[in-house]
């Protein structure tokens, strides 16, 4: 087993991997940019090294600097997290050359899957069902021609893409040029690669993905699916496992296809096979994400396994400690991605200082967070602050626990999308499991539900504002409170009116 692992990432995922390292008795090495000196992943690490400017190309995307820290610190392996270098085959190859184990698949498998176009070529050969489209990057004129043939609407996708970056839906040829340019420029910026390909756009599909794990001894298993249809701008917002439409039979079929996909690519370590599912519950291979997913915790909760422990064990050469038949799914888990963004203002990012943080805990609640009170969220990176994951014996209980924990959650000083989740979880379609990738756009285009008890709450806010201004006393453990049984007579005059009582 490794003695020291470098985590080439930041934020909640770096913290999550470091926790796994500590649990396994492995020292963790953080890297950080100029603006991340005070970030939580530096506080949680055993060692920490500054690697450069805020701009990712100078720090978290800089292969040379990261390998230099691995060398200096004596790290034997690198965990890339998600995003940044996690799906960069050049990085995996550079690690190998430097004698540092990359915790993920071999560079060759990443090259196949890291390019969505090469993946489509490989899967065509393995006769995996796929959405019609191109299996290579296209120049603009080729793209216009092919789009005309398969018919609008179409989807432009970055070959190197992931997480919705570099994706554009195009309804008509007139929009193609600007979408093509934008997708290329976004892809270039996000992945350093501007290859863009084309797929037929499937109207309101579900997005369901299958987690797979493969060791380096030829054993591959699937760990159940995740429903990821709740998306905005192709960015997942909420994920759950199991999917409300997948039953045991469909899970087995989908899982077996996913294992075939992984094996066709010679895949090792943790990976995710993404599928589009149409209204007839047919599923089509979309792509394979050759990394740990943001949403891996929902799978951990329903399987009871720790995917990061397993990633590290696999990378160190161990065999999978179980077989497919040993995997037992139990209960239901749902993850909310808490972003620093303003849902009332077109989801604009909202970096800044977190002045007050009240975090939920208790039964069925897992919180994977990269923030803390007093921390300033930098403007330079993805706005994911934390993940709140609810587990329950069934979907209804998982929803109830999430609603309860959202009630407790408070992040002051910056805007977050916490209220968005309250709205999603209360939605009838959501509760009934009627989901597709258009779900969230429909929800957001509907008029917002009227605020609850607005008048009562406004009056309470006014009273509290005055009391804060008057300097209401802080808690004293010996203070005599006001509404006691002893004070009941006064309540007869006032409290009993119940003007402010919430019933």
């Amino acid at each position: 087993m490794f003695k020291k692992i470098l985590i080439a990432n930041r934020g909640e995922i770096a913290v999550r991997v470091m926790r796994a390292c500590r649990e396994m008795g492995i020292r963790s090495v953080a890297v950080f940019s100029d603006v991340d000196r005070a970030s939580l992943h530096v506080r949680k690490a055993d060692e920490a090294y500054h690697i450069g400017a805020a701009q990712a190309s100078e720090s978290y995307l800089n292969i040379e600097k990261i390998l230099e820290v691995a060398r200096r610190s004596g790290a034997e392996a690198i965990h890339p997290g998600y995003g940044f270098l996690s799906e960069n085959a050049r990085f995996a190859a550079a690690c190998e050359k430097a004698g540092v184990k990359f915790i993920g698949p071999a560079a060759a498998a990443m090259e196949i899957m890291g390019s969505k176009t090469r993946a489509r070529q490989a899967m065509q050969q393995a006769r995996v069902p796929m959405v019609p489209g191109s299996s290579r990057g296209l120049e603009f004129d080729e793209m216009r021609k092919l789009a005309g043939e398969i018919g609008y609407p179409v989807m432009l996708k970055a070959a190197a893409g992931g997480g919705g970056k570099g994706m554009r839906r195009v309804h008509a040829e007139a929009e193609l040029r600007s979408a093509y340019d934008a997708a290329r420029s976004e892809s270039k910026r996000a992945f350093g690669d501007d290859e863009v390909y084309l797929e037929k756009f499937i109207e309101n599909p579900r997005h369901v993905e299958m987690q797979v794990l493969a060791d380096e001894h030829g054993n591959t298993v699937y760990l159940g699916e995740r429903e990821c249809s709740v998306q905005r701008r192709h960015q997942k917002v909420l994920e759950e496992s199991p999917s409300p439409i997948v039953n045991a039979e469909m899970r087995a079929r989908m899982g077996e296809v996913a294992v075939r996909v992984a094996q066709a690519a010679g895949y090792t370590n943790a990976g995710t096979v993404e599928f589009l599912v149409d209204r007839q519950r047919n599923f089509y291979f979309l792509e394979m994400n050759t990394r740990l997913q943001v949403e891996h915790p929902v799978t951990e909760l329903v399987t009871g396994l720790d995917l990061v422990h397993l990633q590290i064990r696999i990378a160190s050469g161990e065999k999978l400690p179980f077989r497919q038949a040993d995997i037992r799914l139990r209960g239901h888990a749902i993850e909310c991605r808490i972003y620093a963004e303003d849902p009332d203002n077109n989801f604009f990012p909202s970096p800044g200082k977190i002045t007050l943080l009240i975090a939920p805990s208790g039964p069925g609640i897992r919180r994977d967070s990269g923030m803390y009170e007093g921390w300033t969220v930098p403007i330079d990176y993805d706005p994911l602050l934390a993940k709140l994951i609810g587990y329950g014996s069934d979907r209804e209980e998982a929803i109830a626990r999430l609603e309860r924990s959202l009630y407790e959650y408070f992040v002051g000083g910056i805007k977050t999308n916490l209220n968005l989740f309250r709205r999603i979880l209360a939605d009838d379609d959501f509760r009934a499991g009627r989901l597709d990738t258009g779900f969230l756009d429909r929800l957001l285009s509907a008029p917002e539900p009227p605020p609850e008890r607005a008048e009562e709450r406004e009056r309470v806010a006014a009273i509290a504002a005055a009391l804060f201004a008057a300097g209401a006393p802080a808690a004293s453990p010996n203070g005599k409170p006001a509404n006691g049984v002893g004070a009941v007579s006064r309540w007869k005059q006032t409290g009993r009116k119940e003007l402010l009582r919430e019933t």
């Binding site: 604009f348 330079d380 806010a461 509404n483 006064r490 005059q493």
Partner: protein, 166 residues
């Protein structure tokens, strides 16, 4: 102590007196007994007629003070009529020229319409990137882009005026 609390354009008059226990409060003329305690900075627990409320105070980077009651946010201005002190007045939603301001710190990645361009309501004028997301700033009304006060690649702070549409 008397305060005027302005929320959403409505002024509430709050008179406070310390009762034998807790506060005796007169809200817009109505007597209410309030048991209040600050449990930690900016967090107040109130009990009113048996109902418990936790109110959080938040000073936004715009300078506004928000009071959160459960999941409802109220921007409130607090005035003390005696001292004539007043917290920052809420910015009036002006008519006339539209100032397009940066909603967050970030970088201007594209100017879509140069000064002098005609612009439709809802049409994008600038693209600002922050936290790896590109966000298009759109004109609120039909008109002409009068001025562009930034350029591609410029770093901007929240609230900076980037363009004016008339």
């Amino acid at each position: 102590m008397t305060y005027e609390i302005i929320i959403g354009g409505k002024t509430h008059r709050v008179e406070l007196a310390r009762g034998e226990s807790g506060w005796q409060c007169r809200l817009d003329g109505e007597e209410i007994a309030v048991d209040a305690v600050v449990t930690r900075p900016d967090v107040m627990s109130l009990i009113i007629g048996g109902t418990a409320y936790e109110v959080k105070r938040e000073v936004a980077h715009t300078g506004d003070t928000h009071f959160w009651v459960k999941n409802s946010r109220f921007a409130a201005e607090v005035r003390d009529p005696r001292s004539l002190r007043s917290r920052k007045a809420a910015a009036g939603a002006g008519e006339g020229p539209q100032k397009m301001t940066a909603p967050m710190p970030g970088k201007v990645v594209r100017v879509l319409l140069p000064a002098g361009s005609e612009v439709e309501a809802g049409q994008g004028v600038l693209v600002v990137e922050a936290m790896k997301m590109q966000n298009e700033l759109k004109a609120a009304k039909k008109g002409v882009v009068k001025q562009v006060l930034t350029s591609e690649g410029a770093a901007v702070n929240a609230g900076d005026v980037l363009a004016i549409v008339e």
